[in-house]
């Protein structure tokens, strides 16, 4: 038994981590939050250079044929750096295509998705908290999709949409005149969300149980992202408390704060294996994949959110300001927790899958 990363995975992770450390320090994230979005394109270009957009696509179509766990390792690092790139939607769309696209669909889209020439995203939610396949209402009829989707990541400028339709099916829709992207405001300004209206937009059906694939993969990536973000937040907070003095000594020497930090570690750190396993099960233990993904999303994003709140408090007043780094990771985690539905929805999904 070997519950550890392969050398290839460790290399992937350290490559992404170095890139993020080099190219995306907190000032970059702050700049994006302040509306200066030029870094987004260059960061994305950097990820494209590393081949990340095609990570899960078949090698035959220009991808690297890697697994969900590999994508999740990337997500962890992007969460750790709060990197403002359109990774989530693109990675999910590519994965759906890789696993469920027809030969023709793959031939059409994969090379562009892999090279970054085509940017894709996923359109799932509808108003009223409808995130999961059974709740989708967008109509797919005669090869056309009609409906309004909300919280579509980075829809602005996306070339391809994977759209959840009534009955739980997925459809591919190309951006164009029958696809209207509406401006919105997103708490996590690093990953803007949009509403997208499909007005009888030409669509191709993706066959098979693609929606489950999508939900499981999204759950895992969000969990990994939240884990990376919260893991960093704890360390950054500990470092801050070592430098900051009150009552004549570093705050980190106060046992009360030290124990609060230790509790955060105890709540978060042991859950790394949970998203590792969700990633692994997706490709190697399909019977357990949905349960593992639901649990990872529910458990980790819940823990991460509490960690983020506690880190704000531990910082004192400064932690609550816009200019402090904490707010960026706080909102990153909040996105991870709420996108695709809040933890209770995923706990309920888990319970149902367990036959409870």
């Amino acid at each position: 038994m070997d519950f550890s990363l392969s050398e290839e995975q460790e290399l992937l992770q350290s490559t992404v981590r170095s890139f993020v450390e080099r190219e995306c320090d907190p000032r970059t994230a702050h700049a994006v939050f302040d509306g200066e979005r030029t870094a987004v394109a260059s960061l994305w270009a950097g990820l494209v250079d590393m081949g990340l957009p095609g990570l899960s696509l078949p090698e035959a179509h220009g991808g690297s044929g890697r697994e969900l766990l590999d994508l999740a390792l990337v997500a962890e690092e992007l969460g750790r750096g709060a990197v403002p790139v359109p990774f989530l939607g693109h990675a999910l769309a590519a994965l759906v295509l890789a696993r469920h696209g027809s030969e023709a669909q793959q031939a059409t889209w994969s090379p562009g998705l892999a090279s970054g020439g085509v940017r894709a995203t996923v359109a799932l939610a509808e108003n009223g908290g409808c995130w999961l396949p059974g709740e989708w209402g967008a109509e797919l009829e005669d090869g056309r999709v009609t409906g309004r989707k909300t919280f579509v990541p980075e829809a602005d400028g996306a070339d391809l949409f994977v759209v959840g339709c009534r009955g739980g099916g997925l459809a591919l829709v190309e951006g164009g005149s029958s696809v209207r992207v509406e401006e919105g405001s997103t708490l996590d300004r690093g990953r803007p969300l949009y509403s997208v209206v499909f007005e009888a937009a030409p669509a191709e059906v993706v066959e098979g149980a693609a929606a489950v694939t999508l939900i499981d993969a999204a759950s895992t990536l969000l969990a990994a992202d939240a884990f990376g973000a919260a893991h960093r937040l704890i360390r950054a907070t500990a470092a801050y408390l070592q430098t900051r003095e009150q009552f004549g000594r570093p705050l980190a020497t106060f046992q009360g704060l030290k124990h609060q930090l230790a509790n955060m570690v105890a709540e978060l750190d042991p859950s790394r294996g949970l998203w590792w396993y969700a990633g692994h099960a997706f490709d190697h233990a399909p019977a357990e994949a949905s349960r593992a993904a639901a649990l990872a999303k529910a458990h980790i994003t819940e823990r991460a959110q509490q960690v983020a709140r506690d880190c704000v408090e531990a910082h004192g007043g400064i932690g609550f300001t816009w200019e402090c780094d904490v707010q960026i990771w706080f909102k990153r985690v909040m996105f991870d927790r709420l996108w695709l539905g809040a933890p209770d929805a995923h706990r309920e999904r888990y319970a149902a899958l367990e036959g409870w």
Binding site: L187, F247, G248
Partner: protein
């Protein structure tokens, strides 16, 4: 035990209610005035009528009445209900004025108190500094006497209303050779003084509820000191006490909770109102327990203070800050759990400022974030815990670290 206020107070209530009805809203040309001017006008009349700040001596604009917590409570209830503009800046009326009454010179009282009560003079509080949050004694901003002027240098932070205030009351180090609490003075600073720079601080939820204030050779008259030179720490204490009480106010929690219940009735879960879900009902009732406990704790404190038996409620007095923070956080969390999608959107600017407004979804998102700030304002929770351990349970003080 008698939860009615009694005849005397009910008469007071009647008279306050009558005054409010007659005096507000303003009529005729007065109704055309700006919001601030209308408020000043109304407060002048209310002061004359002996309804506002009645314990302030009449020579400074009040009614010179005996302190009476019950009377204050009845009056506040009526003023809140009537929606009159009775609150000027809390910093001025609840912090500066009591301080001046206790430690100010006759000249200072005459110069500042009445205009502060009417709201003509708006104040901000300059205590916290980037390196001195809970630990005010380590503050670094300094004031040096140069002839008959203080020269101020340094920085303050978390200064509410600095961008609108006319004056600041603040703590500055005047005897730098004295350590910690020693050598600090309480000074009054016109915000228009040259060299003084105010920069609003943007908060995580997007609001700008606090400012930084920078002092670069700011000069103020030597007489703008309250109490003796180096006594500023003592002078400031009564103010801090008032601030803690304000934060412990349950009015805001009750308002939020009522809004939360309304939200739970309105939002649907599994095809029926969320309030019908057993999990939601349990959490609401659990929060209701904390809220009611807090309200009755306040009633106990009011009564005890009225009877000069403060020490009997020391544990309520010291826990009220932690409890009300905890309560507000629970309310905001539960609300966001009812409308989770709202947490993906950034609150609009008018939803992002503190204070009670309409409870829109974006407002709850802001609340989810700025209830965190309440743990921080007025002494962090850990400082409160130390105080509780030491004063309620008699535990020893933290050991001091070895001198560096």
């Amino acid at each position: 035990m008698n939860l009615r206020f009694g005849e005397e107070y009910e008469k007071l209530r009647e008279s306050v209610r009558a005054f409010c009805t007659e005096s507000w809203p303003l009529q005729g040309g007065e109704a055309e005035l700006g919001e601030r001017e209308q408020g000043i006008l109304w407060r002048k009349r209310a002061l004359e009528a002996g309804i506002l700040y009645r314990t302030v001596p009449s020579e400074y604009g009040g009614a010179g009445a005996e302190p009476d917590v019950m009377a204050e409570t009845v009056i506040r209830q009526e003023l809140d209900r009537a929606g009159v503009p009775h609150r000027a800046s809390v910093q001025g009326t609840h912090m500066l004025v009591p301080t001046l009454l206790e430690c100010g010179t006759e000249e200072q009282r005459r110069e500042y108190i009445e205009r502060t009560l009417t709201g003509e003079l708006l104040w901000c509080q300059g205590y916290s500094e980037p390196g001195a949050g809970s630990d005010l004694a380590s503050l670094q901003s300094r004031a040096e006497l140069d002839g008959d002027e203080w020269v101020l240098n340094g920085q303050k932070i978390w200064t509410s209303n600095a961008d609108v205030a006319d004056m600041m009351f603040g703590l500055f180090r005047t005897e730098p050779e004295q350590p910690r609490h020693g050598g600090i003075s309480y000074l009054l600073v016109p915000m228009s003084a040259p060299g003084l720079d105010v920069r609003p601080l943007k908060m995580m939820q997007g609001g700008r509820d606090f400012c930084e204030v920078f002092f670069d050779g700011v000069r103020i008259p030597a007489r703008n000191i309250v109490g003796a030179r180096g006594d500023g720490w003592q002078v400031s204490r009564s103010t801090l006490k008032h601030e803690r009480m304000l934060i412990g106010d349950t009015h805001a929690s009750r308002t939020s909770f009522d809004a939360l219940v309304a939200l739970a009735r309105e939002v649907r879960k599994d095809g029926r109102p969320a309030i019908a879900d057993s999990g939601v009902r349990q959490r609401l009732a659990s929060v209701a327990g904390y809220l009611a406990a807090q309200e009755w704790a306040v009633a106990r404190m009011l009564t005890a203070m009225h009877q000069n038996r403060d020490m009997e409620v020391i544990s309520e007095l010291l826990t009220t800050k932690l409890s009300s923070t905890n309560l507000q956080q629970q309310i905001a969390k539960l609300a966001l759990d009812l409308i989770p999608d709202a947490g993906l959107r950034e609150p609009a600017p008018d939803e992002a400022m503190m204070g009670i407004r309409a409870f829109t979804p974006g407002r709850w998102v802001s609340q989810y974030m700025f209830t965190l700030a309440q743990s921080i304002a007025g002494g962090t929770s850990n400082v409160q815990r130390n105080l509780i351990g030491e004063r309620v349970l008699g535990l020893p003080r933290d050991p001091r670290p070895p001198a560096a």
